[in-house]
């Protein structure tokens, strides 16, 4: 990971002002920056670090990206942590009340469950000890990403340590959170993507840094009409009628049946087609079930293009589907940040989304798209946009500007620099 990238590659997209600011802010950072996570490839964290680290280096900030290691059991444990921390369904949980109710429930099952959890915590700590003995976390600014490396705070000797949380921990499984909190609360600061994902019980500074997309990545780069057509030809999609698209995993929380129902309501009155494109994670048995259910629901509908990315779609394919669309959907019932919304908006497309997770930060109702709460609501808004191309164009333009201002990687980089400066100088107003 020695690549450097110049922020000036983004000049045509964000203008000189921000890039000059990045250089000035970076010039006021002294010392080494370290990012630590668990993988160089796969998943949103690796994707963003692959883009951000070269930009840090391009600003002449000494930057390292280090990985922790572990065996299959360790990664099974951290995946389980992830699932248990990442926004339980079913409302808020008071930690103490939850524990009391659980113990009353079924003692044997609870003991078994606690023993399993104990083994998990022991595995986590074992690999944390291994990594602590092998890694040299001597950065002046150490960003630990997500729960996997969090316990390495025990090895801190110098610098500012920041726990960068990419997931929603607002409503976690109590035992796992309490375990993790003991480590996280020892950091100098934390960073969350939105207040909705944060915790009130950390006792350390909590900065807000939303995630971002890279406009120069294959997923978002400008494509010619020829390049878009090539992709559509590959999937036998003809552009003789407007396209509605949802890009998402085959997951119940993405409400793909709801998208099909909304499409069917619109299709009765307006000729259009629907692309549902997504993948199924290898370790997600439910994903194939959902795919089969959606396949059944789409039976007999010639204008529904149900595309299972196996092998996964290329980023250019996804880019082309979005660019060929008139309307983009993200009708999730529950969502993390949902950065795919920004990808759609960046392509100048209005997005109709569920009012959940990070979607309302991106879809400003009536400005960049519409927030909907039902199949009928979604259908009505799709119809509005198909019938009124000027409205769709206007919302799409607004969406692109909204993303330019708020969800591009250059803003992300600026926020990290500002967080570092804030840690060096804990005043509310910092003069450079």
């Amino acid at each position: 990971m020695n690549k450097k990238r110049s922020v000036w590659d983004y000049e045509d997209i964000v203008g000189r002002g921000l890039l000059e600011d990045l250089e000035l802010l970076a010039g006021n950072i002294s010392g080494k920056v370290q990012h630590v996570n668990s993988t160089y490839a796969g998943g949103g964290v690796a994707e963003i670090l692959n883009r951000l680290v070269p930009l840090f280096k391009g600003l002449d900030i000494e930057t390292e990206w280090n990985l922790i290691r572990g065996d299959d059991e360790f990664f099974a444990v951290t995946k389980s942590f992830h699932n248990q921390l990442h926004g339980r369904v079913g409302g808020p949980v008071d930690v103490q009340a939850h524990e009391q109710v659980s113990v009353m429930d079924d003692l044997d099952a609870q003991i078994k469950d606690l023993n399993t959890k104990k083994r998990m915590l022991e595995t986590y700590m074992h690999w944390s000890d291994v990594n602590a003995s092998e890694m040299n976390n001597d950065g002046d600014f150490v960003f630990m990403h997500d729960p996997q490396p969090a316990a390495l705070i025990r090895t801190k000797e110098k610098g500012h340590w920041i726990w960068r949380c990419h997931i929603d921990v607002s409503n976690p499984e109590p035992l796992v959170w309490n375990f993790l909190r003991d480590f996280v609360s020892k950091y100098d600061a934390s960073i969350f993507s939105t207040p909705l994902f944060s915790r009130p019980d950390l006792g350390i500074r909590q900065f807000l840094v939303p995630p971002s997309i890279d406009p120069l990545s294959d997923k978002n780069i400008e494509l010619t009409q020829g390049e878009i057509d090539t992709v559509l030809d590959k999937y036998e999609i003809v552009t003789d009628k407007p396209i509605i698209t949802q890009i998402s995993r085959f997951d119940r929380l993405k409400d793909l049946p709801g998208v099909i129902d909304a499409y069917k309501l619109v299709k009765k009155r307006i000729d259009c087609q629907l692309i549902l494109a997504g993948g199924v994670a290898a370790d997600d048995p439910e994903g194939m079930e959902v795919y089969q259910e959606v396949l059944k629901k789409a039976e007999g509908e010639d204008d529904i293009h149900l595309l299972l990315g196996s092998p996964p779609f290329s980023d250019i394919d996804i880019n082309a589907f979005q660019r060929a669309s008139t309307v983009i959907m993200q009708k999730s019932l529950k969502e993390g940040f949902g950065l795919v919304v920004s990808e759609g908006l960046w392509k100048g497309k209005p997005v109709i989304g569920g009012a959940t997770g990070g979607i309302p930060l991106q879809v400003i109702n009536g400005v960049t798209g519409y927030l909907v709460h039902s199949v009928e609501g979604a259908a009505y808004k799709i119809a509005n946009l198909l019938k009124d191309p000027e409205l769709a164009r206007k919302l799409g333009e607004n969406g692109r500007e909204h993303v330019r201002n708020n969800f591009l990687i250059t803003r992300h980089l600026k926020d990290y620099l500002l967080v570092m400066l804030s840690l060096e100088n804990p005043s509310r107003i910092i003069r450079l």
Binding site: E20, K394, E401
Partner: protein, 216 residues
């Protein structure tokens, strides 16, 4: 006459740890929260450039309308009187006053659901010089036409509201240029009514150009 260097600021959001689920919690937190949080929630949306004006003028109004379902109260927070206030403590007091008056006259029982709480966020300001400078008002006009909107926001809203030295320095510099009347006109600009900062820039440029014509 001395050169005038233009400054700008970048802002980093940080949670204050205060949040509210209903109107009484909102009022209570509003009375004690850091003034930079009041500033953040009233003004940050102006920096988001949208082609359409936002439905409500600030974060408090949005939350009151969307979550507590009190659109009339949300609209009261678009009170033109708020536009006249250039002091954050006075602005805080006025907003609290609007909220308390409404609560005294109406039953406001709305409660935020999970994930709908109002989180008070504060802004950390990092202030630094730009490469732009001016030797006279004419040059300043040209700079104001092209400088980043962040600079316009910084001078005409942030520095002015947060009692910063740079707006005072700008004011002194304009006045020293025998343009006391111009500064009075610029001082009279109310940030609250603009849909975005570009609209404010256009108004500022218009005021200075008009001032020049009147001097001819």
């Amino acid at each position: 006459m001395s050169d005038f260097t233009f400054y700008k600021a970048r802002y980093q959001s940080e949670l204050t740890g205060k949040s509210a689920r209903d109107i009484s919690e909102l009022i209570s937190a509003m009375k004690t929260v850091d003034e930079s949080s009041i500033f953040h929630h009233i003004y940050h949306a102006l920096l988001d450039y949208h082609f359409l004006p936002m439905e409500y003028p600030n974060d408090f109004a949005y939350w009151i309308a969307d979550v507590l379902h009190e659109p009339a109260l949300a609209e009261r927070l678009a009170d033109p009187d708020l536009r006249e206030i250039h002091d954050l403590d006075a602005l805080r007091a006025r907003i609290v006053n609007i909220l308390e008056d409404y609560v005294n006259m109406n039953d406001v029982s709305g409660m935020a659901g999970v994930g709908q709480e109002f989180h008070f966020i504060k802004s950390i300001s990092v202030i630094f010089p730009t490469r732009h400078f001016a030797s006279n008002i004419g040059e300043a006009l040209e700079v104001l036409k092209v400088i980043d909107l962040d600079s316009i926001f910084y001078y005409f809203i942030a520095s002015r509201m947060l009692g910063g030295e740079h707006y005072k320095a700008f004011s002194r510099w304009v006045t020293e240029n025998n343009s006391y009347e111009l500064m009075e006109k610029l001082n009279a600009i109310c940030p609250y009514g603009f849909a975005n900062i570009n609209a404010m820039r256009i108004e500022i440029v218009k005021i200075i150009e008009k001032h020049f014509w009147e001097q001819l």
